[in-house]
Each structure stands twice: as C-alpha cells, then as structure tokens.
C-alpha cells in the first residue's frame, strides 16, 4: 500500500512550514519532505544549530525570528522527513520521494510546492574556477557552518542579498577585499517612482537596506557601477579583472569571489507537471501561473513562497497559509464563508509584504551583460558548452531550447539545466530576434532530481500500487 496523506508539502522553508502549521490546526494529515538535514529553508538555514551555538546574533534579528517558526513547526504534528528529495509528481496525485537510498510513493489529495528559489546563473569568463561561488553559498556556510572566507573576499553583485551578506560577514569578523556593485548606474532614479509604495508597505526594510549600503561604503573598498568581471587562475582563482561604466579597468589579486545577480523561482517541479507558467518582465524569470490561493493550472497542486514569484520571507509565510487555507476549504474542513473571513486579513498582509517588490525589482534589475556572455564563456557548466556553440546553432536556424540541448548537450548534465536554462534562452532570443517568453526553457521531465538505479529499483520492494 502506498502511503496516503491529505497534504504533501515539499520544502520546509518559511512557506512550507507555515502551510503545515496552519493545516495542522484543523487536523489534516500533513507530510513535509525536504532535501536538507534540518528545517528552515535557505533563509533560515541552520537556524537550530546556530541558535544552539550562539551564532544567530551575527546574522540579525530577521534570521533569529526563524527559530520561533521552526519550533512551532516541530511541534505542530506534521510528519517531517528530512534528507528526502522529490523527483516526480503525477496527476492524481502521486509523489515519488527518495531518502536514505530508499524510494517510495505517496498518494495525496493536495500538493504544496514550497521549493523556493535559486540564484540566477551569472556566466562570465572563469566562473567555473574553484574560488568562484555565489553570495548565497557564502551566506549558507556562514549560517550552517559558522564559517567565513579565510582571506579578504571579493563580492560582486546586485541586490539586497550581497549587501546583507557583506554586513553579516563584517559582523562575524570576516574581511572584504572589495565590493563590486554591479547595479547599473541610473537604476535608483528609474526605481524612484515606485519607492512610495515600498515605504508604505515595508518602511523598515528600505531603511535597513540603506543603512547596510552606507555602512559598507564606509567600511569596505566599495566600487560602484561595475559592468564586467573576468577571473583568471591555474586551477583556482588567482586574480580578477573588473571594468566600470566609465571604462576604468583594474586587475587585482583574489582568492575568493562571491557573485550574485538576483534569484529566480524554482520551477523544475511545475514544469515537469505541465503547469502553465508566466513570464515576469520585472523579475526576468518564469513563475507558475497561479490563482489568488496559489493553486496552479493543475488541480490541487499549489505553489507558495518564492517558487510562486520572488516575494521574500514575510510573503512566503502568508502565501503558505493562504494555500493551506484553500486546501482546508476544498477538503471541507472550513466553509466558503469561514474561509473568506480568514482570507481577508491574509490578503492585506500579503499585499503589505509584497509592497517593496516593485521598487526592488526595478532597482536591482540585473545588467544585460549576464544574458549576453562572450563567445568563449562557458554557458553550461556541466557539459562544458560555450556561448559560441549556442550562437552557431542559432545561426544554423535552430531556436528552440530543446533542439539546442539535443545538438550541443547544453542542459543535459547533472544540474539538468538549472545553471544554463535562462542563459541559453536569452542567447537564442538575442540571436534570432525572438523573446525569452516566446521561446520558453528546456522541457523538464522526471526524474527532476537525479537518482541512482538502485534507488529507483527500491520501488519494487516497496510494493507500489499501480
């Protein structure tokens, strides 16, 4: 017999935990699966460990708040399975999960995908060298392992995350060799018309961001308007070149470079399920098409958190609750009227949480250069495909991402296109006078996370119902 639950939540971050807690208030049978060893998602990664070790202070109040939610989640009565990955979801709904080398099938009435986001791939010459990582990665090792770069680090990027990380790093005793701000000049001005709304919704966030920036400019070597980066070294980063908008070029010694150009929703699961997706022109990414409750075009499949469109930690929690509320209504635990009453304050809260987004999206719109890598830059890290190979195929008349995948192997490696899908789409759009929303991304098929033949074969022992 397959395991059967009412609601399967995928991802134990702010959205997934909030949904589980809410659904448990009404006694639903909830199973939460997550790839990590402990709950918290990326934003609250390692929160239990950090609290125990007393490291949480360095990371700020917003991080420490996560402990309250994690504690509530731990005691809410939802079954929580860590170190478990989901690699297939079939209509019906049937979910294939693998953990500790064993695969099983869970039948569920509702699925909530709370799989969050990933950092946008940032290809540039040398980005595969050891010593280049994402800012998010640097922050994750600070959160989960309490570690900082051993030598002064270079940070290059655009967005709130590099500012936050730089602030946390200095507080933790780390050193910054230089902060290369890649925010295109003039973007603050272009974002200004949207600032009022941001200030009304979340004034403290804007004040906080400004304080981080001012602090950083005072304490670190801050270089504004950086337009290009190139990294060199024999088997690891040894030096880097950067160029600014006014043409100043500089070569510096470097051992570690952290990069960041925003985040994009995790859509492999919804793409695999065949859900409809929409292009978000502000966030330059696809997100699943959802109704006000977060339900996708596939019935009973919900998406909450940054996977529903980048909204941040507050929005993620409310979205999780809203989706759980809808599940409770559909399941008959709450009447339409009761549900509507609970929905109204949540909707206002979500609106407030999302208020700064339009401003942030405009201010931190990534520079075009990251979508137009030079010919000899690796685009697909796994299969080592350079930009010129994609352009060559485009010149031969091929413009569909899947065709390019078949011809060049770009997107066929273990990461399954997660690090090259947007870059390839942008290159193709650019080369063939099309747009990324016209072209879409690679088709995603299960298993959307790799699994071994052993793990797959273990299904047979678990007596899967057909």
């Amino acid at each position: 017999m397959n395991e059967k639950v009412d609601l399967l939540v995928i991802g134990a971050g702010p959205a997934g935990m909030s949904a589980a807690i809410f659904a448990r208030n009404y006694g639903l049978k909830v199973l939460v699966v997550d790839e990590q060893d402990a709950p918290g998602g990326q934003i609250w990664r390692g929160i239990e460990q950090a609290s125990r070790a007393g490291n949480a202070d360095v990371l700020g109040a917003s991080y420490s708040k996560g402990k309250v939610v994690v504690d509530k989640f731990r005691s809410c009565g939802a079954e929580y399975r860590s170190n478990t990955r989901v690699w297939n979801i079939e209509p019906g709904l049937r979910v294939f999960i693998t953990g500790a080398g064993v695969t099983s099938v869970v039948d569920t009435d509702y699925v909530l995908l709370a799989t969050g986001a990933q950092e946008r791939p940032v290809p540039f010459p040398g980005w595969t060298l050891p010593g280049v990582m994402t800012v998010g990665a640097g922050q994750i090792v600070l959160k989960s392992s309490g570690q900082v770069p051993a030598d002064p680090v270079w940070i290059a990027g655009n967005g709130p995350l590099p500012l936050l990380y730089a602030t946390q790093l200095l507080k933790a005793g780390g050193q910054i060799a230089g902060y290369l701000d890649t925010t295109p000049p003039g973007q603050l001005l272009r974002a200004m018309p949207r600032i009022l709304n941001a200030l009304t919704g979340a004034p403290m966030d804007i004040v906080k961001g400004l304080a981080w920036l001012m602090d950083l400019r005072r304490k670190a070597n801050y270089v504004p308007s950086v337009t290009g980066i190139e990294v060199f070294g024999e088997n690891r980063v040894e030096r880097l070149d950067y160029i600014t908008a006014n043409g100043n070029k500089k070569t510096v010694e470097a051992s570690l470079l952290l990069v960041h150009e925003g985040i994009v929703p995790t859509i492999h699961p919804t793409l695999s399920l065949g859900c409809e997706h929409e292009w978000d022109a502000d966030q330059l990414s696809f997100a699943p098409k959802l109704d006000v409750w977060g339900e996708s075009s596939q019935e009973n499949v919900f998406v909450a958190g940054d996977g529903a469109g980048i909204g941040g930690v507050e929005a993620a929690q409310v979205r999780g609750q809203i989706s759980a509320l809808r599940v409770l209504i559909k399941n008959g635990n709450l009447s339409d009227r009761e549900g509507e009453k609970l929905f109204r304050p949540m909707r206002s809260k979500l609106k407030r949480a999302l208020a700064p987004r339009a401003f942030l999206d405009k201010l931190y719109r990534p520079r075009n250069a990251i979508f137009e890598p030079e010919d000899n830059t690796l685009v697909c890290r796994c299969e080592e495909v350079v930009a010129s190979s994609i352009r060559h195929q485009a010149a031969m008349g091929h413009f569909q991402p899947d065709k390019i995948k078949a011809l060049t192997r770009a997107g066929m490696g273990p990461c399954q296109g997660r690090q090259c899908n947007y870059t390839v789409a942008h290159i193709l759009a650019d080369a063939t006078n099309r747009t990324v929303p016209d072209l879409g991304l690679y088709r995603v098929r299960p298993p959307f996370k790799p699994l071994t033949v052993d793990e797959l074969a273990s299904l047979a022992d678990n007596g899967v119902d057909s």
Binding site: N55, G146, C415, R418
Partner: protein, 98 residues
Amino acid sequence: MFQKTHEITGNEVTIYIDGTPVVAEVGETVAAVLLRQRSLWSRTSLLSGEPRAPYCMMGVCFECIAIIDGAFSTQTCLITVCDGMRVERQLGCPRILV
C-alpha cells in the same frame, strides 16, 4: 578557502578526504568541510578534467558532487558529516565519453 569563526569543541567528528583525516563539526555539510581545505575542489569536470568546487551550496549546481562512502555523484552540500565518513574527490569519467 573558508575558516570557522568558532572552535569546534565537544561535537567534533573525523571524516576522511581522499584518505586524510579532517576534523568536522556535527551538523555541518561535507561541502562546508571541503571549503576549509587548502586544495579547494570537489571533482573534475566531465570533458576537460578541470577542477570544480562547491558553487551554490543549496543543491542546484551539482559542482560539489563527490564519492561518499563509495556512492558516486553525491551532492556534498546536502549531506551532513558523520564520524568515519569517507569522502573521495570525484574524477570525471572521460573514458565513457570517448
């Protein structure tokens, strides 16, 4: 290369990276330990054999894959350490691509 901001006291384990014993802290991932090593890499790439190192730390880039207790292509950023764990850097397999 990274370093801890605190001493590992009381909750340390030993893992072996390519046979060399290395101290790690309970609860941290194998990739985090790899990042503290002087030779900062986890595998070589499939075609050109270039060294690669943990890049995203959240399970999406697959650059940190290594052989853990004999299991190939394990994402070291998703696996937490345990005492006696054997980690081997994974060399790409050019033979099967020829």
